[in-house]
């Protein structure tokens, strides 16, 4: 290495005429190609991700391991970043999910990919509107459209504040507490736009439901709500 540096310093500008151009040919380039393949693979395919993994685990272990959320007893109940199914009327429900046959499956992330003239999409949303109306008889105003549309990932952990508040009468009734107390929890959970400008205001559904349990007590029988279509075992 030292030799190279010396060479560089010793060479005054402008550089002497470079060697003649390489003749085109398979042999001329095959050796550098094989060696460059191995070298770049080791550098960018192994050393780089392993270095980043090491640093990430050291500096930001919570995020690096998937932002896992724990309940009061310290049990891991999900990832803060991923939606999970909530069927009980005492919990706020996330948007419907097209990830996997049952929805909310992190092994099958994705959207419905139904197009803007899809009959399937219209039928699915129509059924969803009916279900939401049935389960939320006291809700004010029309159903926010995000509650009948599946997200791009199927794991969208958020609701807009409006879509959360729309569910508020149902949650308060199921928990037998005044709406104002539930509303306070929701309002505390609202995250503003990033830097006051980027994205949309939102509420993380899992964190909101954990906060509900913490501040208002766990619902009597969490899984006893009216089952939505097709629950996984």
């Amino acid at each position: 290495m030292r030799k190279v540096i010396e060479l560089r310093r010793a060479t005054p500008l402008p550089l002497p005429a470079p060697p003649p151009p390489a003749a085109p040919g398979l042999r001329e380039h095959l050796v550098p190609a094989v060696r460059a393949t191995i070298v770049t693979l080791v550098l960018t395919g192994l050393a780089y991700p392993l270095l980043v993994t090491g640093l990430a685990q050291l500096l930001f272990p919570h995020h690096a391991r998937g932002s896992l959320a724990v309940d009061d007893k310290g049990a891991v109940v999900g990832s803060e970043l991923l939606a999970q199914r909530f069927a009980s009327p005492a919990y706020f429900q996330p948007r419907p999910s097209a990830a996997g046959e049952q929805g909310y499956d992190p092994l099958a992330s994705g959207g419905s990919n139904l197009g803007p003239t899809s009959k399937k999409l219209r039928d699915r949303a129509t059924a969803e509107v009916e279900r939401l109306r049935r389960e939320n008889p006291d809700a004010a105003g029309p159903v926010p459209v995000e509650l009948v549309t599946t997200s791009g990932s199927g794991l969208d952990p958020h609701l807009s504040p409006a879509a959360a508040l729309w569910q508020l009468p149902r949650v308060a009734k199921a928990r037998q507490v005044p709406e104002a107390r539930v509303r306070a929890v929701v309002e505390d959970a609202v995250e503003a736009r990033d830097l006051g400008l980027l994205g949309e205001p939102r509420v993380n559904v899992l964190l909101l439901n954990l906060a509900l349990d913490r501040r208002l007590g766990a619902p009597a029988s969490p899984a006893a709500g009216p089952p939505a279509a097709g629950r996984p075992e």
């Binding site: 990430a56 891991v76 092994l107 999409l121 509107v129 997200s151 990932s153 990033d194 980027l198």
Partner: protein, 573 residues
Amino acid sequence: MTENGWLQIGLFALVVLAVTKPFGLYLHRVFEGERRPLPRVLGPLERALYRLCGVEPRREHDWKGYAFAMLIFSGLGVVVTYAIQRLQHVLPLNPQGLGPVAPDLAFNTAASFATNTNWQNYGGETTMSDLTQMAGLAWHNFTSAAVGIGVALALARGLTRHPGPGGARTLGNFWVDLVRSIVYVLLPASVVVALVLVALGVPQTLSAYRELTTLEGLKQVVALGPVASQEAIKELGTNGGGFFNANSAHPFENPTPLTNFLELVLIFSIPAALTYTYGKMARDTRQGWAVFAAMAVLFLAGVGIAYRAEAQANPALAGLACDHRAGNLEGKETRFGVAGSALFATVTTGTSCGAVNAMHDSFTPLGGLVPLLNIQLGEVIFGGVGAGLYAMLVMVILTVFIAGLMVGRTPEYLGKKIEAREMKLAMLYVLIFPLLVLVLSAWAAVAPYGASSLGNAGPHGLSEILYAYSSQAGNNGSAFAGLSGNTRFWNVTGALDMLAGRFLMIVPVLAIAGSMVGKKVVPAGPGTFPTNGATFTVLLIFVILIVGALTFFPALSLGPVLEHFAALHGRVF
């Protein structure tokens, strides 16, 4: 549409404008400067890589040598990634114990990543081991981006060098461009960006997937992996291959609006900066800005149309008793909203990135037309890393030629005459892309084994086919993902589409560079058409639009345009 939405789009445009010059200067120093940045830290690494690769950095290639090196290196890349996928079950770093990838899918994926396309006929979380993701796929994210930069530099050198009579007609050294791209640009930036992404919530681990019990007592398996390291280079190298099936819509790949903004800026950063680098190489930065301006106008028009379209109610849901004020949210994430999703879709398809933060298949007909048309215009709206600049320069040559015809003079660009040979090569370049897209789309549309993969009926089905072959030939990689591409027919035709769309187009580009480099420079006279002003930019935009529209308008009118009018009448299929 909201004021805030337009503000986000405007802020993004300003940030891109602000980074173009400083980053462009940096790139010029890296590739053309006598002294490269950070010589004490990165210099030794650069020299070590030359030694390990057995490369003499001062020996330059002519266009054929450059093309040979590029083709051999890329070909080896396809073979190695194919092998890693086929052998992942016996290789380390496979915590989930995933089996080997099927041959046709492995071929499609290897071609996809070697061509900077990152079309994905697989769901990452259930198909690829950590080793495959890192060494098989993310490796290509570096090298294929570096190849694109190299080809762009070679063409720029061909247009701007003045070797004089008897001078060497060389275009640079492929290996030097490759090594410098990685050492000075892609690798250091990726390390920093990856750590920022982790700080904002993106996972980075080699552990197995996490099984847990949800608050309501259900089982959920959380797929994890080295996501951040892949995410950083995926955007910076305009690759677009997601770690997860849902790509940048997945909260692990893109957890917040801030990461979304960062990813957007990363996608545009190198393609935008290279226009400035090009201007520096041409010794007239206005040449670079003229190209930048054409790209910017087309981008702003696209994002305006897409945002406006997506802010409307989804036509399939329009009759339902819902509050539609939030716009078309099918396939979109709450945290990004309609503005952040429309912006991402325009950025990712104007460049050949192909990452998605919303499902383009569920966009409104006109909202989905924008990404499709962006790809079909030839990936020139900033375009892929390097690929955008060389594609745009071919359009520039075409424009100069047409301008020359209009005034009846031999066209010249940067003082060099554009003659029959260059025009033939440019036309070859322009024709390969629609030939691939239209022939393959027609085949898939009439063959039962092609059309059976469709996820939507009616005109939208044709849009899915057109999008698939446009995206692959354009090396974009985003999809109307309702189409199930993991069949033998789609895997094989798609792989050939991608390989041809990359290498059959790069070779004419290098040939143009080779034929331009030795040309005599004629001083500009009163009859010279200036290529560094607004008139030229306007002409360039129209040439791009006319070439794209003439080629694809008939097909588009049977897909998105027909669907738009069907939707106006409330039709569903």
